[in-house]
């Protein structure tokens, strides 16, 4: 069974941690969009979900920083953040090492991946999963892209990672989904927290909709930092999803700036052809 579902959306600790102080009219479109995404993921009836995110310095530091690292564990504890900070109860999310291990073998034909049997899931994974697979009954394969400490993997490599993942997933018999999380523009936990660059977000989303590799990978790291903020580096997760769907475009479900959650919020579902 080839890849059966691919989408990209946001994460952010404020989505759960500061939900109670956010104006309802601002955040309702976001949660309605995630409800629709949840419904579409249920229809996809996934056997496993590859989730691509950054690590927010909860697993990885500069003493040994991989560009890409995949989780091969039987299970993943999460969230790593304190419950009173994130307002998501601690749990354990099942892994699926028998699939993850096979994916790694194939991906490594073209992309060198680090791997770990002990990754823990931070808000980059847990916030979306809390809404999209709330029973945590879909086994997860976490894939982390370094978006925290430069030098970051190049955007073109994130796209190539997606292409390699697709090739690997398409060789499996199970129904596998791919979800990228992060971005869009944001200046997380910084003095500019709450700033959202709408034009920058929309330009990037246009490139996702068209799945234009050239447009998606045209940004330099300095341009991302300046125009999309430090959190903008997480567009790498989206680009990986685009790479997995090369040749097909995407459909934007919604875009809405969410200053209360300090993100430009969106869901895009890619056509899986």
């Amino acid at each position: 069974m080839p890849l059966v579902f691919a989408a990209a959306t946001n994460h952010g600790p404020g989505i759960t941690g500061r939900r109670d102080t956010a104006p309802e009219e601002e955040v309702a479109p976001f949660f309605e969009g995630w409800k629709r995404l949840h419904q579409r993921m249920e229809v996809a009836n996934l056997d496993a979900l590859v989730v691509v995110s950054s690590d927010h310095i909860q697993n990885l530091y500069m003493d040994n920083m991989p560009a890409f690292i995949i989780g091969l564990g039987d299970e993943f504890p999460g969230p790593t953040e304190d419950e009173h900070f994130l307002k998501i109860p601690k749990t354990v999310v099942p892994g699926v090492p028998e699939i993850a291990g096979v994916l790694v073998e194939e991906v490594m034909e073209t992309i060198d991946l680090s791997y770990s049997g002990e990754l823990a899931l931070d808000h980059g994974f847990m916030v979306p999963l809390h809404f999209l697979t709330p029973k945590y009954d879909v086994p997860v394969i976490p894939l982390i892209i370094n978006c925290m400490f430069p030098p970051y993997p190049k955007l073109g490599r994130a796209y190539e990672l997606g292409r390699a993942l697709r090739r690997a997933i398409d060789q499996q018999s199970q129904r596998i989904g791919l979800l990228g999380t992060g971005g869009l523009s944001h200046w997380p936990a910084s003095p500019l927290s709450g700033k959202v660059a709408e034009e920058w977000d929309k330009e990037f989303l246009d490139a996702m909709i068209a799945n234009s590799r050239e447009d998606l990978i045209r940004y330099s790291d300095a341009e991302i930092e300046r125009d999309g903020g430090p959190g903008g580096h997480e567009i790498r997760s989206w680009i990986t999803v685009a790479g997995a769907c090369e040749g097909s475009g995407g459909t934007l479900d919604f875009y809405t700036p969410l200053p209360s959650f300090a993100i430009g919020g969106a869901v895009i579902e890619m056509t899986v052809a």
Binding site: G17, I57, P191
Partner: protein, 91 residues
């Protein structure tokens, strides 16, 4: 790699309960092990998140650490905007 040691300590305090426990019980030795400067020690003890940010500490380290130190989000953001101690130094 800016502020390598102080970021490493905050990373370990955020992710390793035993290290955070030592921050409460064995602080001076812990700081020495991580080779923190006097300024870094002061900024951590007083939760001067704005000063830590200005010296290059990733705010993704600071936000969860501030939460653990019972700094509310609005107070944390205020501290990022205007550097200064958010906590009094333990005497």
């Amino acid at each position: 790699m800016q502020a390598y040691n102080v970021q490493k300590l905050i990373f370990h305090m955020n992710t390793r309960p035993a290290v955070y426990e030592r921050y409460g019980s064995d602080r001076a030795v812990l700081f020495a092990e991580y080779k923190l400067t006097a300024a870094e020690q002061d900024y951590i003890e007083t939760m001067n998140v704005g000063a830590l940010f200005e010296m290059g500490v990733q705010p993704q380290l600071l936000a969860p650490f501030a939460g653990r130190e019972n700094i509310a989000w609005p107070e944390y953001i205020k501290g990022m905007e205007t550097p200064g101690p958010l906590l009094k130094r333990d005497s």
